[in-house]
Symmetry: C2
Subunit: 259 residues, 2 copies
Amino acid sequence: MSPEALTGPSARIAADLRSAILEGRLAPGAKLPPVRTLADQYGVSRNTAVKAIAQLRSEGLIVTKYGSGAYVRDEHPVRWLGPDRYARSRWATTTVEVRADDPSSDAAQIQGGQTQEVNRVDADERIAAALEIEVGAPVIERARVITRADVPTHTMTSYYRAEDVEDTPICDPRPGIAGRGGGFAILAERGLEPAEVTEELRARMPTPDEAELLELPPGEPVVELRRITRTANGRPIEYAVGVHAASRFGWRFTYPIPD
Amino acid sequence: MSPEALTGPSARIAADLRSAILEGRLAPGAKLPPVRTLADQYGVSRNTAVKAIAQLRSEGLIVTKYGSGAYVRDEHPVRWLGPDRYARSRWATTTVEVRADDPSSDAAQIQGGQTQEVNRVDADERIAAALEIEVGAPVIERARVITRADVPTHTMTSYYRAEDVEDTPICDPRPGIAGRGGGFAILAERGLEPAEVTEELRARMPTPDEAELLELPPGEPVVELRRITRTANGRPIEYAVGVHAASRFGWRFTYPIPD
DNA sequence: TAGTGGTCTAGACCACTTC
DNA sequence: AAGTGGTCTAGACCACTAA
């Protein structure tokens, strides 16, 4: 109804640049004017122009390259995630093999766009509740960072009851085991065939750690995914927590109207 | 592994306050020290302390009240959304009644925590694809802002084929019709019973308009939900787009592992 | 080496809240 | 009236990039 409340010159500069970007006058990848130029053009101090740029960056509209310039952010192709990514056909026939290409002693390795680290830990309250075990009971934690085209897209950390996966390739710190649902295949081999999945999604801003790990531009939210996998008789076999860069993923579900 | 890279005093101040909040030493609702105090304590200029506060605000950890102070943000109770919110039992028995409490001529009214506006518009590309009609075909747009305890939580805009809902209460701009799945009930009455839903979720930062409308604190992301509702034979009857404040909602889905 | 982003200082003024 | 957040200025220095 009322005209936009302009709280100051920096907001004005940000608004001008924002509409230029949203209307396509500044295309993705285009370089913005240097802050010194903006300051001159608008007759403000350099600090004020810097503030406008920082605002747009926090909105995720631009990225800044130190010493180079500010650029309109490129669009990421969105990957849509749905139930089919857990389909039996994707893991039932998976050949479980460990690629012993690098006999390094380090537990964290990189291969095929996936970092992996395996640890034996005690179940905290949340893990215990999900796996329906006692707090403090031993669990196997398998933490991964998934990369695509050299850019990290999401983390995924799985927890298993220790007795379920001990002496299986899941405990092998070398990656390659679970690249494509390998974890499910191994559980099925042990007589714990996955039959049902419950997923929870929450969006939030990343912690500084997550922002660094996932190389998130400032202003990019993340989606936290929590998943419990159960057998046909309802026994939980895996609890997993993932953090996804919001701009790179969408979720899609189709289901019948319940009664 | 390595110590946190401190890019400067403002980052240091922000980090100190951040851990105080996350570790609970500063409880939700607690007042932070004034920026002038922070500047003195850390021996920096006031501007630098202000910057630290602005950073925390953009992370959604604190809210600032002009002229009063900065406060640790209160937790919102999370409302979990799942397929059951569309259950037949919630709308099949709904009595469709228009509460004609205010014969105002304005199409946008407020009642029962819901603003509503109904318009007849031409289908754009996205609407047309979702409803499987021609671009430019007439559709009924029903835009709502849903409020809970006087604070707006999300928007929801539904699109229907004009011929499906013309001369039904859906086109009545007075709210109260669709408070609890009333839209589904009306469609069912016309022989278009909802049978299947497809939902798409994306998280992103809000536009300035959305931030204002939903009264979002800086740094709060939103979740955009797109929904297509179909009859048993796959005919789309409703396309809806909603924007949810991320801190107030979570999504939960349970489904069998597909083949 | 020149251009550019990032951060900081010291001081100023304004707007809003609280008392 | 005092306290507090928000914004701005003018100038400085540093770190990184690109030619």
